[in-house]
Each structure stands twice: as structure tokens, then as C-alpha cells.
């Protein structure tokens, strides 16, 4: 027994020695680099890599044609390219295509393939890969094609170097859809080990932990400046700030202002726009939101500016329809104040609709998006002021996608809807009656007709006007309670530079670099 006791005591001693050892070691390290926090970040500067925090795991197919979540596309933007690709200014420039020509009547597009473009697996990009990628997205044999706009294609002709796409009718927006990723034909593992042509190549994905990308050395264009980017998943918004402060991550996009204010001098905060239509989206077929007056009452009851002031310290641009200001061409400014904040009017409308005493409703919010939770928190209080009892239901991202977005089993939700490419259509088509992604079940014959007309016209000015009328339609019928385009606060560790904002929801890391 004596021996056992002795052994125990020895063990305890060892443990405490190990502890002080650990501590001592770190202190040495600390004195060497100033701080360990800078130490780990400093080590990454040496190897020219960074760690980027993201709020959402890429827990779906990584196949760019099948991925749904904006969070997935945002990251995979670095891996894939189409025939053309967007620039930070909102233009489209050739990527896998070397150049292109559009016929006068805007029905024939001719692309010349760029020479020397290779996939990340080393294979050269051949015409058959391009045709395969486009046809895959246009295939309507199983219902709606992956990209509905591609159903306008009447024929695709190709030889080894040129591709000719002919459309049924002119479509000034068609080019935007050719940002669709070019993938190698006959590659079976696209969903788990994607291969594209972008400046970074996919290395690995560890569930609930990280996604690793590395610079693709055989990239045809300006190579990425960083050697390696690790996206670390931090779903718990609360441990995010700690991870930034501790030095575990170097960059995080989409911070809240509260989070940003916690960070000290180690970080620069860049401000851009998120390019999302943030709204209280209402299920237009669910009681009581199938009543237009109720929806209008909600619009009057919500004070957008107060939301922006309270939850976002004044950062953010109020909006009034499914369009954000970065799309200057289509943005209709006067819709923003179509419903001015007027609780009295809201109560009247509710009474007219048959709810003089208000009602109870549920706002479903994905738990990993703090900005939406904060917005919903203020909304609940604003709605309470007009007699509506709103309850926030936090759900995980996966549950949100399946319940709200896919199965449409919800009353209302706060979310930001992005544009998959730089067209008005990308934002507006989803509210046509039969659209697959019309998750709010908006049914309006006028709206559908306007959309048909907009697609039919070849005249750009006329089309723009029609899109604006569609926006007005959404506002007048109060399809949703539009709130704002969020400010995008990006924390970037001091010593890093070159981050560029885009007018769509992507995170381009190819230009980020260390300054020293």
C-alpha cells in the first residue's frame, strides 16, 4: 500500500512538473516572438499561408453544379471558373474562354477556348469537358434543369477550339450564366474531391473542422499570392472572437459590429457590402401571411433603420425589394421607403385583415448566422409593439435548408438571399409561381407575366424597366418584409492586404497577400 501511495504522489509530481514544463515552454516561445498569438500567425506568414474562419461547414456536395448554400459557393469560388468569370467591378472577363463574340441579334455566342488551361488533376481542359459542363446544367430530362436559364439554348456546336451556342431568342443576360463551373467529364468524385480550373485547388475537407486549399501552380492567369488557405469552421459564433484574438485565424468575413469592436489593433476591419437581400421572408401560403394586408401591416410595423442602428451600429443599407444597391442598374431607390415606419397604420391594416388583436408567429432563423439572429431579436420587439407575438426558432443550417428552403414548412424566416451571378434575373426569377426555389410560395400572375416579357425582349432598356416593375410588384404586394443589404465587415490580420469585395456573395482569396 505504501508503494501505491508513493506512486500516486510521484504521478502527481510528474503531472505538475509537466504542467510547469508546458507553461515554461510557452513562455519561452512568447518571449521569442513577443506573443504566441502573433507567433502562430507569424509562423503562417513564414510559410505564406492563412487561416480563414467561416461560419458554416461545407456539409453538402462540393460539386459546384449541385451545391446549394451560399456559404459553399462563396468558398468554392476560389476553385472553379466558367468560360467567363466576374470581376470586383461587376464586369465579366474571359476565363476558360480566351475570348468570345456575340452576334448582333444576341442569339449566337461564339467562344474560343483558351490554350493551356489545365484542371487541378493535371488534365488539359478539352472542348468535350466544356460541352459536358454546359449540357449537364442545361439537361431537362429530369424536370427543371440545374440552371433554368440554360433552357434558352437551342443548339451547341463545337470543334476543338471554338464553341458556338445558339439561343431561341435574344437574352442580354445569358453571358452571366456561363460563369458556371467547367468540370472534367467522367470524373466521379466531384462531390467529395472537386476538381476545377481556379487559382486554388482543393486539398481536403474534414467534417466540422476545415477545408484546405492550395495554390494551383499551373493556373493560366495571375497566380494566387498565398501558398495555402485553410478554411476553419467556427459554427459557434461565440468562440469566433476568441479564435481571432488567440491568433488561430487570420481572416473572417461577415462579422457583426459587436464582434468587430472586440478586436484590437491586431486586425484591420474592411467594410464592403454583403450583396444579400436580407428580409423577413414570409411564407405567402401560410396563415396569416396569405393575407396581403397582414404582410403590408408587417412592413409598416418594421423600422429598418432601427434594426440597422441597434443590431449593426448603423452599418447597412435599407432596401425595399429583392434588389440591393450594388446593382445600380436595377436598384429602385424609392421602393425603400414605400412603407414608412408607422405602427398606427400597421394596427389599422391588421384590424382590416381581421386580426385586431394581432396574432402569434414563428420566425425560423439559422443558428449559425449571428446577423440574422440579431435582426430577428429586434424584429420581435418591433412586432410586439403592434400586438404581434413573434417567437424565434433557432435551427441548424441543415435543418433550415430542408425545412424552410426545400420543404417550405415555415411561417417566416430571416435570411439573406444572394445572387448566383450578376443578373437581375438571378434575384427575381425565384419569385415566379413555378420556380423551384420560390421558397416563399409567391403566386402572382402579373409578376409571372412581367418575367416572361423581360425574357422575351432583346432591348436592354426595356428589360431593365420590366425588372424594375417586378421589384415594384414585390414591394406593393408585400411579398416579404425587406430590411437591408448588410454591411460586410471583414476582419483581416494586420500584415495582410489585397482583399477585394465583389458585387456578388463570394470570397476571393487569390489577391490576398502578406505585405512584408
Amino acid at each position: 500500500m505504501k508503494k501505491k501511495l508513493l506512486a500516486l504522489l510521484l504521478l502527481t509530481g510528474l503531472l505538475s512538473a509537466a504542467l510547469t514544463g508546458c507553461g515554461g515552454g510557452s513562455e519561452e516561445q512568447a518571449s521569442g516572438d513577443g506573443q504566441t498569438a502573433d507567433g502562430s500567425a507569424g509562423a503562417r506568414a513564414q510559410t505564406n499561408e492563412i487561416v480563414v474562419g467561416i461560419a458554416q461547414d461545407l456539409d453538402e456536395s462540393l460539386d459546384p453544379h449541385l451545391a446549394v448554400a451560399a456559404g459553399t459557393k462563396e468558398v468554392m469560388f476560389n476553385v472553379f471558373e466558367g468560360l467567363v468569370k466576374p470581376t470586383p467591378d461587376g464586369d465579366l472577363i474571359p476565363a476558360v474562354a480566351d475570348h468570345y463574340e456575340i452576334s448582333e441579334d444576341q442569339t449566337t455566342y461564339t467562344f474560343t477556348l483558351r490554350e493551356g488551361v489545365t484542371f487541378h488533376n493535371g488534365d488539359p481542359v478539352e472542348m468535350q469537358d466544356v460541352v459536358y459542363s454546359i449540357e449537364r446544367c442545361a439537361d431537362d430530362s429530369e424536370g427543371t434543369p440545374l440552371i433554368p436559364a440554360l433552357s434558352a439554348i437551342s443548339s451547341i456546336n463545337s470543334d476543338a477550339a471554338t464553341l458556338t451556342i445558339t439561343l431561341d431568342q435574344p437574352d442580354s443576360e445569358f453571358l452571366s450564366y456561363l460563369t458556371l463551373a467547367i468540370l472534367p467529364e467522367d470524373y466521379p468524385d466531384q462531390a467529395t474531391a472537386p476538381v476545377g480550373t481556379g487559382p486554388f485547388r482543393f486539398v481536403s475537407r474534414t467534417a466540422q473542422d476545415s477545408i484546405v486549399l492550395e495554390r494551383f501552380d499551373d493556373y493560366w492567369g495571375t497566380p494566387a499570392q498565398l501558398d495555402k488557405v485553410t478554411f476553419r469552421i467556427i459554427e459557434n459564433a461565440d468562440s469566433l472572437v476568441m479564435s481571432l484574438q488567440s491568433g488561430a485565424i487570420d481572416m473572417f468575413a461577415h462579422l457583426t459590429t459587436t464582434q468587430a469592436s472586440q478586436l484590437g489593433d491586431d486586425f484591420q476591419i474592411l467594410e464592403g457590402t454583403m450583396n444579400l437581400v436580407q428580409a423577413l421572408y414570409l411564407n405567402n401560403t401560410a396563415e396569416p401571411f396569405n393575407n396581403e394586408k397582414v404582410r403590408q401591416a408587417l412592413c409598416c410595423a418594421v423600422d429598418k433603420q432601427q434594426i440597422i442602428d441597434l443590431a449593426f451600429d448603423g452599418y447597412g443599407s435599407p432596401i425595399g425589394s429583392s434588389m440591393y444597391p450594388a446593382f445600380q442598374k436595377y436598384f429602385v431607390e424609392d421602393l425603400t421607403d414605400y412603407y414608412s415606419y408607422d405602427p398606427e397604420r400597421a394596427r389599422e391594416l391588421l384590424a382590416e385583415a381581421g386580426y385586431p388583436d394581432g396574432f402569434s408567429m414563428t420566425i425560423t432563423v439559422p443558428s449559425n448566422y449571428q446577423p440574422h439572429i440579431d435582426t430577428a431579436t429586434v424584429l420581435v420587439e418591433q412586432l410586439r409593439a403592434v400586438g404581434i407575438t413573434a417567437e424565434i426558432q433557432l435551427v441548424d443550417w441543415g435543418a433550415w435548408v430542408s425545412d424552410v428552403y426545400t420543404n417550405r414548412q415555415f411561417q417566416s424566416t430571416v435570411i439573406g438571399v444572394d445572387a448566383s451571378n450578376m443578373t437581375a434575373r438571378a434575384l427575381l426569377e425565384r419569385f415566379t409561381s413555378t420556380a423551384d426555389d420560390n421558397f416563399i410560395n409567391y403566386q402572382n400572375a402579373d409578376y409571372d407575366a412581367l418575367f416572361q416579357q423581360a425574357q422575351a425582349t432583346a432591348d436592354d432598356a426595356e428589360q431593365t424597366e420590366l425588372y424594375k416593375q417586378m421589384e415594384r410588384n414585390l414591394t406593393e404586394h408585400a411579398a416579404n418584409v425587406y430590411i437591408q443589404d448588410l454591411a460586410d465587415l471583414v476582419a483581416l490580420r494586420s500584415g495582410l492586404d489585397g482583399y477585394q469585395f465583389y458585387p456578388i456573395y463570394v470570397m476571393d482569396l487569390s489577391t490576398v497577400h502578406y505585405t512584408a
Binding site: 501511495l5 504522489l9 503531472l15 507553461g23 504566441t36 429530369e142 466540422q208 468562440s239 476568441m242 488567440s246
Partner: protein, 316 residues
Amino acid sequence: MKYAARRIVMLLVTMVIVSLLAFAAFDLISGSPAEIMLGTQATPERVAELEAQLGLDRPFPVRYAAWLAGFFTGDLGTSYSYSQPVWELVAPKVGVTLCLSLLSFALIAVVSIPLGLWASRRSGGPLDAAGTVIDQFLMAVPPFFTGILLSWVFSITLHWFVHGQFPDLAAEPAGALQYLFFAAVAIAIPRIAMTVRMLRSTIQGEMRKDYVRTAISRGNDRAGVLRHHVLRNALVPVVTFLAQTMAEIVAAGVVVEQVFAIPGLGRLLVASISNRDYPVVQAIVVILAFWVVLAGAAADIANQRIDPRLRLGGAS
């Protein structure tokens, strides 16, 4: 030997029940996995086709047997959300979680036994009362709260570890253990308090027993009696208690992994629960339960070495 054999048989029986419960629970509620996987593209024909492909049209016992066999062949089905084999998702995280729980267990055992012995010397009096109050207080601090405070002090302020940057367990075992150590402390503190309290009360109870009084009245010194007679008897309930501790350690670990952003089974479990990724939940639940049952059996066998009376099957 006979006892150990019997204990192992019991262990296997418990494992079968545990896995059966987990399998049946999810089998009943989850609806058709084929429907979930297909989402909006689910048509009756496609569902039937996929079900046949996944083997879901087989009778329950066959599916259960196939699934259980999967734990040995590494085939635990496919995750709904990651469309990746469950085993691939889970395997790299098992080590991290087991390390964390073992480290916590070691801390509890190594700290609480000497501390308990030391504390038991003072029976009654203000020091004893103060000890009890401190015990109760430490038991009241939730591990995740301790975790938040620990990461604040040791990561953000002192920079002893980098919160959110867990080193790879295989590549950098020392760094990983150092990181895990702080999480283990958060888990261990309330359990240490409980163990100390328990050890103290059993020792004090034992000291009041006749045989001890007799031994002391015969002139043996107190410390000698404590070492030779009391400790052996007092350790039995403590080891039993420590064995049950593994369940609580694993439970606390699920939460504390979240606090420290440790990429273990806990984080994947929580995410999979909200994602309704049932194959992953099922696998993790059973792995953790097996681990707990295994630890319990190991402790029982160890206990029986200390106290042969247990061989008869009943501690009186």
C-alpha cells in the same frame, strides 16, 4: 479469472442492448433515409430504388446485424449531409475524444485520491466544514463555464495555447495534449470535488468502525491503521465511482469540446443532431456508449483485484 470472464460476458450483453437501443430508436423515427437523401427530388420510384440500393428493404434484424458488423468492418453507412462514408468522418475524431476523456480521467484520479486522503485527516472542525463548502462550490461550476474562463485566461491573456487552433494529434501529440489539458481541467474540476468528498466520507466512516477503533486502542498509530486497513476498504467505492465517472466525463466533453473548439466527436455529434444526419449520430452515440461501458468493466475488474470479496458477485 472466472469473475473477469463473467464480467466480459456481461459487458458484451450490455453492448448489444446499447447498440440495439440506438439502432431501433433511429430506425423508428428517422423516416426513410432515402427520402431524406433525395430531398425535393424524391419520387416513389426513386425512393424505392435507393432503398433497395441501400438495403433498407431488408427486415429489421438483418439490417441491425449488418449495421453492427459495420463497427468491425468500418462500414457504418453514408452521411446524409456529407455524402461521405460515416467511418471516414468519425475515425479521425475518435482519437481526440478518447484522449480528452482519458486525460480528464487521469487528472481526476491523480488529483483527487491524494487530496481526499489529505482532507480526510481532519474530521470535524472548521477546516473540514470549509473543505465541504469548497467541494460543494466546485461541484456547482458547470464545466463549460470553467472552460470559458480558462480559455480567456490561458489563451487570450497568457497565450499558453491558441484557442481555435487544435494541433493535429498524430503530427504534434505534445501540442495537442497541451491544448486538451485545459479542456480536461474544465471537465475534471467538479468531478475531483465529488471524488474528494466521497473519499473523505468513506474514510471517515471507516475510521469510526470497530476494527479500526480496536486497532488504534491497541496502540497502533493512526496513520499506519489508515494505510494498512482503511484505505483498502475505502478505495472500493471510490474506484466504482470513478468507473461511473467516465459517462459524466464523456457527457461534459461533448459540451467542453464546443467551448474550446476541439474537433472531436462531440462537435460532430451536435452538428449532426441538428442536421438530422442520423447515420452519423447513431455511430457516435454507440461509439461513446461502448467506450463508457468498456471503462466501467475495466474498473470493475480492477476493483475486484483490490477487494476479492466482490468475486462472489455481491458487495455487502
